[in-house]
Symmetry: C2
Subunit: 218 residues, 2 copies
């Protein structure tokens, strides 16, 4: 029941690929996510299958088993609690936390995890608006939608961003778009689907279609 750090990272990759889509994760997408060669993935998938953490076949790809899912959700919980800690207690910005949390998520101590949760006031969402599973593995659910799906003229609140890379987050910082900001969708351009939004103080900015798809609002 004890996973290596590498195994944890594979399961996380399979989890995140499985979430945002159709069936399971295929060999190639996992390889890409972990920045390794597809050939290297095969072996590990076999191992994870033997250990009963995933179901795997060529047709459906890799999918987490119940046991695999449980372990992975715990890793996700750790990752997101640590990110919250870094922002709330250690003066990190949301664009700085990911890399460090990738390390911290592998620390093994249930007591530390529980104390962290308590210290932070049992948060439900991390600094990017991603849901934090509770100690039982339950995730809060929201009905957030990506910005391009919002009707023109509606006033909405940013609740989640679907890309935690420093480059994207720093771009949002520059545009003065942050979690819980209120904004109004003014126009969607026909030719490139870019979105014009009004921020507080009447300031208006254009967001590319690519960027706007990653901004979830309510």
């Amino acid at each position: 029941m004890v996973l290596t750090i590498t195994e944890e990272n594979y399961l996380k990759a399979i989890f995140s690929l499985g979430c945002s889509g159709e069936g399971g994760a295929n060999n190639q997408s996992i390889a890409e996510k972990l920045s390794i060669n597809p050939a290297s993935v095969t072996d590990m998938l076999r191992r994870l299958h033997e250990k009963k953490f995933i179901d795997y076949n060529r047709a459906d790809g890799a999918k987490l088993t119940k046991e695999g899912l449980k372990l992975t959700i715990k890793t996700v919980r750790k990752h997101r609690l640590w990110e919250t800690f870094l922002v709330e207690k250690m003066n990190f910005s949301w664009s700085e936390v990911h890399e460090v949390a990738e390390q911290l998520e592998h620390i093994q101590s249930d007591k530390l995890l529980n104390e962290l949760d308590k210290m932070l006031g049992y948060p439900k969402f991390d600094p990017h608006g991603d849901p934090i599973p509770d100690a039982q593995g339950k995730m809060p659910i929201t009905k957030a939608k990506p910005l391009p799906d919002i009707e023109i003229g509606r006033k909405v609140r940013v609740v989640n961003v679907a890309d935690n890379s420093p480059s994207f987050l720093k771009y949002l910082d520059k545009q003065e778009i942050g979690l819980n900001n209120i904004l109004v969708v003014k126009e969607i351009q026909d030719f490139d689907k870019s979105v014009l939004v009004e921020l507080k103080g009447k300031k208006e900015v254009f967001l590319s279609h690519e960027a706007s798809k990653k901004i979830f609002v309510e």
Copy 2:
């Protein structure tokens, strides 16, 4: 300049063996400290020597170079700051921190380390009374002595314990001996060198010679 976790652990072992004694650390003592086979140590010492982190020869054993010392002190700093964090902020007892700190000390983030230091108020000693190197690598120095070296009748304060194992620390907890406790040395028994000390509230306890050697007072 980037060390693997294993390399960091070797350097820490060499450091701690070099501190409490004569010349350098020999093959066998390192193996014992790391709970591995002496034959496995040889290779790594060669590697660390090649990378200029240690000087090594059969006569003098392994000694850290300036560069090796610098890196090791940083690891020690991290370990002790994390231990302090766990006790001060996360409700850990001094007998619970070591194992988790062994994991946390390998986290790589200068910002996190500095913020940790700041959050804790730049502590000079960890929960076992061990000195915490500052950001420049400087260690506070104390003139603490082991309990058996104290004259009968003197009133002293516990400032450090030289064994961080849970078993020893829990034993001290049972005896109600903790950091900063005031105690009076009443007697040293001839036949087994055990020490009789008076705690606050006039309570008296016997400490074996083994135990008393590990308790440092001022």
